[in-house]
Symmetry: C2
DNA sequence: CGACGCTTTGAAGGCCCTCAAATCAGGTGG
DNA sequence: CCACCTGATTTGAGGGCCTTCAAAGCGTCG
């Protein structure tokens, strides 16, 4: 039933030299709240940022750290994890280039409420709080945009809450797979590959279930022909099938 | 086991005349992102707002409405409900005077993502989007504060997600009762009364469980002496007891 | 005081978790 | 290039927490 034995997920090496001024400006202009700024303004904004590389699995920051930096993902993928006292992890989000993180805590509590790990090798730009607040004061429209984006994130969190209380695991997994395909999908043959290492545990941690249950359900999806998958990768074969599951069959 | 037969929750009638200029300014100054403004500035800000009264149960806005207003609660209590397609309701939050709502959608999607109902008789001030955005542009520090508050709300939503995936219903209910007592508690005798109509269904909708389960568990709490409660009201008798439940006994 | 609606209680059943163990993919070192 | 090793995935069995459906108790309010 599996389409391949070896993972089709691409894993490009990131070279340090890629973070040239032009690349930095380009990535900054990808960030929703900087999108409308002129190149000149971006150059000023850019001076507040510094860039760092991380290798797969590295911790970018930990849940208990003091929140000092706002971060923007330039290359690669980052995962945000909430660790619970019981030792169960919650995968809050998988980020793609252009997304920012760590801001939450910057303005709210003094500590990060989640940990960030390099999901693949990646490059991250950081800015400290005073510099960022000063940007917000100089550019009120950046602040207004940021408010809108945070509002959307809150909306998404509420949807997650809704799904957790009203949907069963099967629906939640169908939902999360479709969402990931939307975000990280790359069309290969007649499939939409989620171009990212993605284990059963990752899916389980995103949907609040156990690895075993995630495995059982994804296997069922495979048998139904909705997806094909192997070790750490998933591709969607029938968007319609998953949508049907999501909506209650 | 019940302390009283009749509800001890206070239910003051709200008179229209209470919304005088002074009251309006006082309530505006309660709002976290307006707190630091001078009286003069507040007076300017106030001109953008208009006040409305609602009776218990009235809909202030509905989930499917176009999001046009930011609202601030002046008197009474408001509940935010997310309706799901299956007909199950989720009680997102209970608001007290000084809290704002409806903003989410104002900057994010075009529609409200939840409905707001008058939980008790209440008075609400509203401002439309252009007027509010103009305030944000004129007062960058208001915008920065708003960002911080939304960050905290997002943090709280994440905590809810964590609780839904890692805690059982008993813990979640203990948690929600303590939180409500913190927010709406008024000390009566040796108890801390949650001074708000609060049904078993409300508790169930806040914790994502069924009315029956909420009832069973709250009865157990009563038998343990942690709470006393009756029809639509709850008082905490042993904060320690509930805390112990919350942390896993 | 009578009806409505909130609350309580019981019973049956399902979903999902946990523990355990087998299977398999991919990388490593000889 | 092959055997081995590590870690991911699959599968099974048993059990617990909660849901759902029903029906009986009781406050409150008119």
């Amino acid at each position: 039933m599996k389409a391949r034995k070896t993972s089709p997920v691409s894993a490009p090496r990131i070279e340090t030299h890629q973070c040239s001024l032009d690349v930095r400006l380009e990535k900054l202009s990808l960030v929703p709240f900087f999108q409308h700024l002129s190149r000149k303004t971006l150059e000023t904004v850019n001076t507040g940022f510094s860039a760092h590389h991380f290798e797969q699995g590295d911790a970018i920051y930990q849940q208990w750290d003091r929140a000092v930096y706002l971060r923007i993902l330039v290359f690669g993928a980052v995962r945000l994890i909430h660790h619970t006292e019981e030792g169960k992890d919650i995968l809050l989000d998988l980020l793609q280039p252009g997304e920012y993180f760590g801001t939450l805590s910057l303005f709210g509590a003094g500590q990060y409420q989640e940990s960030a790990y390099a999901h693949t090798d990646c490059c991250v730009m950081t800015i400290d709080e005073p510099a960022f607040v000063s940007i917000l004061h100089d550019h009120a429209d950046v602040a207004v945009k940021l408010i809108g984006i945070n509002a959307k994130r809150l909306g998404r969190a509420r949807n997650t809450i809704r799904d957790l209380t009203t949907s069963n695991v099967e629906r939640r997994i169908a939902n999360v797979l479709l969402t990931l395909a939307e975000k990280f999908g790359s069309v290969k043959m007649d499939e939409s590959l989620i171009d990212l290492p993605l284990s059963r545990k990752d899916v389980a941690d995103m949907t609040g279930t156990s690895t075993e249950t995630a495995s059982r359900i994804m296997r069922r999806f495979q048998q139904e022909g909705y997806i094909s998958s192997g070790r750490q990768w998933v591709a969607i074969r029938s968007r319609e099938g998953l949508t049907a599951v999501m909506e209650g069959e």
